[in-house]
Symmetry: C2
Subunit: 365 residues, 2 copies
């Protein structure tokens, strides 16, 4: 049980940095609990603005705007991890910001993230830090092809990554990532990707949802399916890893951890952490419809000092992202029974843009 | 199946008259489907304003404000039936307004409502129109005590009503309702109140939820419980009545019908209509949490020309209103497992004011 000392009352205001679909769904969940929201985003067309009364359109470096935003907020959170660290520091000097400084610092830098995993004894792909072509050539031959080059900062949905299959790809890959500080990783032949969506309160209480099986297309998440076809042992191992990371980061809110399930030569399975995200996560969207308390409400509960809700599933679920033109099927999807609709109200359709998601529910057999 | 011709696309704007908790929950449901909302309410402190970007603070008779509101809306609905008929007519000349004119006309006048029920052959309590003390004395002796005097217009939560147990109460009762056009009704010794929450599309498709058992305290709804302890026959009869009314009114949206379950001397049960409400209804709040598509989403689907969603329950449910000071228990309610929280974010607590509701879920046995 979380301590309720200092819990925010309904009517308090939650400041949210970022006005995309995650900010939108956080605001909708906050609204059901009686909280007000204030959304800060540089884009005047932010879909999250549509579901709140208060917004600020300003750059993340605009300290006058940040100051007013902080004054209007009782607690501050964010929908994406790439907010400038100076912005986070500025806000933290005025209000509680959850998830906190350690989580942001680690999640913004793949090298720090990998180093922390190693330090905690958590499985990850073999990796090397890369600061130039020389590093890259040396590391690739040490690790062995194929390898993946990933920028240390600002990567998502496969952006800032290049696969290297042989020495002839090296120069191109270095150009492709913009010749910036990166890491080189062994490319893992994994059986599947799963994730852990775990919530942690300031007092250290944790609750995790069943891990979904995540299927990507063109490096963007396409489906998350629960239950995942994994053993109880793998599920338990995944939760141990997630709690270890959440505790180490003194984490408050929803933390997402992507894991590869890898089959060893002896037939046993092991888990390697692919990435952590200090926020609500696309692979947890099914929880809105298949659980009494979904990830968005759970995040709001954690950052307002409320006790966490139960994470039990009442249904099996298959979440499917609606990417780009997929949204044009809205008028047939809305005729499907047992399909829960979540459209983000984005005005412009662009290839690769997340326009909505659906969750198809089935009774638990 | 509703025809999808003319269905509104996500991104369209739904105008909502009324900024209370029903408007708020309609806006939240519309937001999940990607719709924008514009809420019109004279009260600048309207709780619904907190969950939308667009609001108009103006009187319902302000035609300049209504005109702008209509221009910004693709379809218009309302959270309460007592909007002036001139307001409805003004808006209808500019945009589709659902539910339509017939429903509003009937629901605003208890006498017309009773007359319609009689005309449709639907059971109601014995009643008489009352326009003065003479009418009242005559009608009371004809019907037989106890009787209830109810104003024809603007009654809710027991307001505008007076119970008359004997001839000595008559003069007082007439004063109590403000000496205005009323109806006098036999007071029915009912076993319980149930309601039907039914949705109907423009093309005549209907879907109803399981009928809840409604328990009042101080004439305000306190609990709605599903399943209600009624036979399948009673449930079927209730649905037949509801469909008959919805069809007669050429209804579009959610319609609520309160019914008394009455035991006859021969032991059989029959149903008497107590009241109809042309809107989402407090006794349907449990559907948000116990069904894949709750009444608020269902209403939005109906008025935007979308097909209706399934009304199947995945859980048993007990909804409890949080009235006045009840909201102060928020910090113990939020620690209950399987209790779904809906706080309305109202800033001032007043006795009798609906501040929120909770729904306690149990697996279907």
């Amino acid at each position: 049980m979380a301590e309720n000392v200092g819990a925010l009352a309904p009517g308090s205001t939650i400041g949210i940095l970022g006005g995309g679909q995650l900010g939108r769904m956080l605001a909708l969940a906050a609204g059901e609990l009686g909280f007000r929201t204030h959304i800060f985003c540089p884009d005047p067309d932010s879909p999250a603005f549509e579901v709140t009364r208060r917004n600020t359109v300003a750059e993340y470096t605009d300290e006058a705007a940040l100051d007013l935003f902080a004054r209007d907020s009782d607690v501050i959170t964010y929908e994406f991890e790439n907010i400038p660290s100076s912005t986070a520091a500025f806000l933290r000097s005025r209000r509680l910001v959850f998830p906190g400084v350690k989580a942001l610092d680690i999640a913004q830098d793949r090298l720090k993230e990998r180093n922390l995993m190693e330090q905690l004894g958590i499985g990850i792909a073999n990796y090397r830090p890369i600061d130039g072509l020389d590093d890259l050539e040396k590391a690739a031959s040490e690790i062995g092809y194929p390898v993946i080059l990933k920028t240390r900062r600002f990567g998502y949905d496969g952006k800032g990554q290049a696969t290297i299959s042989s020495a002839t790809d090296i120069a191109n890959a270095w150009k492709q990532v913009g010749e910036q500080s990166s890491i080189l990783e062994q490319r893992i032949p994994f059986e599947m990707e799963i994730s852990v969506i775990i919530a942690r309160t300031a007092s250290g209480e944790t609750q995790a949802y069943d891990s979904p099986h995540n299927i990507h297309e063109k490096q963007i998440l396409h489906h998350s399916i629960v239950p995942a076809p994994i053993s109880q042992q793998i599920q338990d191992d995944a939760l141990v890893i997630a709690r270890k990371i959440a505790d180490e980061l003194d984490y408050v809110g929803i933390l997402a951890i992507e894991l590869f399930v890898v089959k060893a030569e002896n037939g046993n399975h092991s888990l390697l952490v692919n990435e952590i995200a200090p926020r609500v996560h696309n692979s947890g969207h099914w929880t809105i419809d298949a659980c009494h308390v979904g990830q968005f409400e759970q995040h709001i509960r954690a950052i307002t000092g409320w006790p966490l809700g139960p994470t039990i599933r009442h249904s099996n679920a298959k979440m499917t992202n609606l990417i780009g033109q997929d949204i044009n099927s809205w008028d047939s999807l809305n005729a499907e029974a047992n399909t829960c609709l979540h459209f983000y109200g984005k005005t412009r359709v662009r290839p690769g843009r997340k326009m909505g998601h659906i969750t198809r529910l089935e009774p638990i057999a």
